[in-house]
Symmetry: C2
Subunit: 515 residues, 2 copies
Amino acid sequence: MIRKIQNALISVSDKSELEKVLRSLEKYNINLISSGGTYKKIKKLGYKCEEIAKYTKFKEMLDGRVKTLHPKIHAGILCNRSNKKHQIQMRRNKFKNIDLIIVNFYPFQNTALSKKNSNSVIENIDIGGPAMVRAAAKNFKDTSIITDKKDYGSLINQLRQHKGCTDLKFRKYMASKAFNLTAYYDSMISNWFNKELNINFPDRKTIPGKKLAQLRYGENPHQKSSIYINDFNDEETGLRKITGKNLSYNNYNDIYKGLEILSSFRQTGTVIIKHANPSGAAINKSPIKSFQESLLCDPISAFGGVVVCNFKITKKIAKEITNTFFEVILAKKFDKDALKILKSKKNLILIDISKFKERKNYQIKHFDGSFLIQDKNKKIFDLKNLKYVTRLKPNKQELKFAEFSMNVCKFVKSNSVVITNKFSTIGIGAGQPSRVDSCKIAVEKAKRFRSRKLKSSVAASDAFFPFPDGVKKLIKAGVKLIVQPGGSIKDKESIDIANRAKIKMIFTGVRHFNH
Amino acid sequence: MIRKIQNALISVSDKSELEKVLRSLEKYNINLISSGGTYKKIKKLGYKCEEIAKYTKFKEMLDGRVKTLHPKIHAGILCNRSNKKHQIQMRRNKFKNIDLIIVNFYPFQNTALSKKNSNSVIENIDIGGPAMVRAAAKNFKDTSIITDKKDYGSLINQLRQHKGCTDLKFRKYMASKAFNLTAYYDSMISNWFNKELNINFPDRKTIPGKKLAQLRYGENPHQKSSIYINDFNDEETGLRKITGKNLSYNNYNDIYKGLEILSSFRQTGTVIIKHANPSGAAINKSPIKSFQESLLCDPISAFGGVVVCNFKITKKIAKEITNTFFEVILAKKFDKDALKILKSKKNLILIDISKFKERKNYQIKHFDGSFLIQDKNKKIFDLKNLKYVTRLKPNKQELKFAEFSMNVCKFVKSNSVVITNKFSTIGIGAGQPSRVDSCKIAVEKAKRFRSRKLKSSVAASDAFFPFPDGVKKLIKAGVKLIVQPGGSIKDKESIDIANRAKIKMIFTGVRHFNH
């Protein structure tokens, strides 16, 4: 179904690249209707154009809030060209068909992001524009809708190919883009309102995504993939790539896990991620030591991993890093000499995270036809709620060790057991369906790579021990302080074992499942 | 800021419960404007009401496509009551303020779901309604917008409390709900178009969610959570709960993992899930055997897990199931006697999945301010691309075993190594940052619970072996056929070891990371 374009209505916030379209429209004797800034621009470029107010014979009012919300405009867009009754009504009203709409919106997110007050945000919500876009997209069988200046070229091609007409395939695709835009636009507004009102779980939640990049592939080469951003600031993720190839799906997956853990550190620290689990993590006054300790936890698993640091990479640290093969290094800046050293490593991706910040206080998990929203897990434990269940009690310093231990543990996939020495992990047991297996893995890792650190170590468990077997295993390995939520019917047995072994155990009452 | 309501426009698809609002509006002498079915309903209920066409002096046209898209309506909604210029313009045009809009849409998804053709879907896209809703929500400082009949009660309370007025807090909250609705509505339309056009990665992707239930809590008790559904059929997830308490976040997480695996089985089978990983899986002509085999793989981890079956639960199977403590059983129906037995178990949740079907061909993973979309991983391997790398080659039957092994393996969190015997898992090694550790765990599990099945077993690895250590470990345990993607620079060493041990190995070329 080819449709001739006789009348076009243009109303664009972004006026760049308009001229090439105007030139093409003029060529096919298409009448232009417009108003305000777009009208002025068209006239300035030397093209004929009728003002909307003249066209509708209705003077725009309320500071432009009402100009296109008029039957003559909307009937022109919505009229079914194949319906005789519609055609008669149009003639009776002396309305003309409007066959092409070119509209783009003032970007809502720019206002929302800037520090203007909420009045200004609301003032910038476009009403007339989306109404026309939606009307034209609905009536794509007859009307062409362009909402993206990237599509000016295709429109011009259509006009050329079909001599001033467009075809149905083009119009339907443009209609899909139009509804993608209105959905995105209203989703931004809706999320802005929910944020203003502190509503995390509205009756209807719509998550807007703007494609940031098509990825080489997904988790595996046979899966296609793209990354989308859904914040108001839709220009960037806060990750500034300095060098290296494009990030892959698995890179992003590991990077975000690393940033999540790093965001929980208030001190200088490093996390190394492999397969979305930490292979090691440490905080230390000395940046280089925090890196070394993270690496030492499991230098074999760290191979090819993602390193995330909350400090600046100096020459010295860079040299240390290049002793191991990593895929990605993220840090708060890299100094010149460091860059020189790191750039010499082929295929190493460097990312500056100085501008990264956590944006949401909730997280979302998707399934096939549904999703779960939950508050982020921001707690570790409350000192005042701790239960000192063994005869021996940890001192203040040991409580800090326990806090670090549990903090890392809560980011490891459940069931998770983490063994730490001071502020370094020395054994991480991840993702086992039974807790004792996670204990076993953590102990084996620690024995293999950091056996001397095992005595007087601390162990954290993300949930209670259903049986005392895990506790036994940890004690046998040298753990001297166990931090766990408690709450098992077998707690008494675990406590007895701890007491007999003269180690310390504390119950936090706070579970940390993470899947 | 209290705002008096003098004029209200009502246009509702769902006309139930309207009368209680009308009664309240009449009490405060509020003039009503309406049209079509809503107008008739109001008159029938005995209330005064002016027709929109009379009010605007513009006869509705194009089968109702254009009636409220009129300056008199939209200026009435959008005019700023505190702005003198606006007031003067309104008086000059003889326009009145419209202070309250009550609108609900014809549910788009009902049409999209029903088997009507796409013309009918498009015809049902509402243009005038959303335009009014958006206008009123934008101007919430002056205008009240009601989009949900659940809010009739609050509106009536407002009118009562403020003597025919509404307050700002109410209006802003209602505005947030209005934009939540328009975003959701357009997102449904946008996704419908993308599906029609087979576009999985549009420039802008918006994911609509309708709250299905507030959950008791999230992954942990200190996290709030709700579940949303985002399909056209927004009434149900295809999971019909027969008995038991409300599903928790972790239940959903496990259930969807189980359904994902089960959907990949073409034969009768069972999967048991714990912490979003399978603790065992089996296919078998005999339903009860498939359950027994799944359980035997790791009866300790299965404790408290989620059982997912693609068959009907009979009395015999129910008896077998009740020997172990599970949280949830999902099956394609339960017969009467089975129900009696299972219902006697306190706290056991039973779910009928007869109506469950996979809906999307893509999956989404969320991070803080972004999300990744990728095609679902629907492949296992192609027979024609297999590389038979050892001197001994598997026969047809063994290839079927290898296919089962890799099929389960691809759903286990990476790095994953799965050992199977025929069509039953006997050892699952999940979620380790290094592959040899996953081998170790799989072997230990198999030795512990199914040691006799180890000889002549099959092992699948989701990615290549970077070193031959994992292969060695598997062979030593009794594995006779290894299926893996291949592609490591150390492949030769692994192949040599396999040949020396006289076992079979095949390379698929298909990696199956899953995080």
